[in-house]
Symmetry: C2
Subunit: 215 residues, 2 copies
Amino acid sequence: MSEDRFNDLIRGAYVQTFPPQVELITEGDTADFLHVVLSGTVELYSSWNGRETSMATVRPISTFILAATIKDAPYLMSARTAEKARIILLPSLDVRNVFEADSDFARAVVTELAQCYRAVVKTTKNLKLRTSQERLANYLLRNHRRAGGALEFDLQVEKRRLASFLGMTPENLSRAIKALRPYGVEIDGATVRITNLADLEQFARPSPLIDDYTT
Amino acid sequence: MSEDRFNDLIRGAYVQTFPPQVELITEGDTADFLHVVLSGTVELYSSWNGRETSMATVRPISTFILAATIKDAPYLMSARTAEKARIILLPSLDVRNVFEADSDFARAVVTELAQCYRAVVKTTKNLKLRTSQERLANYLLRNHRRAGGALEFDLQVEKRRLASFLGMTPENLSRAIKALRPYGVEIDGATVRITNLADLEQFARPSPLIDDYTT
DNA sequence: TTCCCCGATTGACAATTGTCAAGCGGTCGG
DNA sequence: CCGACCGCTTGACAATTGTCAATCGGGGAA
């Protein structure tokens, strides 16, 4: 990407630090800014008819609502800070201009979008093909892998949000945790300990076509 | 898009006609061809642990598995013809080359991918925020709109596939259909008649952020 | 036409998941 | 240190959804 174009992009940009639990964007609004998370975490969520569900957690360094920015369409999800977060705000207009003018940038956007698309497809498969216990088991295995294979790691999310992300109620999550104990899972507070990886994997049956978020 | 690049693209391409119920691609395989449906319909579906779910129905004229082709990654979904279908097969390598060389093409790909991404996000919201009856009601309203506002139209899909697409069993779909009768829905075979649009809409509460597939 | 096949429907029942209410326990501010 | 608050857990129960088996009924082949 050319330096000129890069400058076009950052000229109107600004960085801002937000405290936790701040609503950054509201679904349905028009996409005025592309957001880039530099530090902290952001939760994407959606509402309908008085219900709310957690859609994703965004961690540094990635963008969110890229698709809405490119299409100049309304946001499909709301976003709020989960922890204190530093975020770059890039005016959507600038992003679309550079996107039109700079083909390297356009290709980078494609790669990012393809990644996001595949991630959501995996989420849908996870929801439709698995029970809540299976979703929890595979979620734990994914975090186990993300923690570098550690058998003990922390849930990075509040349990209520995890429950919503996994598509269940907090009560149901509590019970699912207990139900996984026979398969070698101990969860105390936010600490997860896998005492029998083989049993858990046999129960969870992870699949790269659902659980590998890197491809 | 330049004529040269277009020729690069169609040089290795070929069109093929498939009978119904032919498996076109299998999830997990590498993306050798970008597929374009010219006529007929194709069903995208996924499997895990002996279960199967219908993910989408592709109608002319659109592509499928664009993301896998661009990323040179394995297919996340399998595809089979639902009806007899004519399909263009474009070698993925050619698509990636033209994508690298032709920025107009790259931008077109972005727009298409952004569209697909947003469609899957809407599907996920539909699944997580609505009960099966609500999903059916909104599915009917979407088809009602797609039929140009006609109050009587045909289900374009077998009920077993519709059930799978909506994330329920065929038995549950039968019951959901009966449960919508008080809201002015009559379904006889593949024919849907909406006798009380206002009641149905009040029950379904359609939202453009979930049900409008055009934005 | 008649029969067969297969998908749709129905009923009875089971499993899963959600709801409501109560109680527990950790954290944080005074 | 104490108490209030808030999220988590637990139990009892209800609603939703799935499973299994039987039956219905329409379309296609002989």
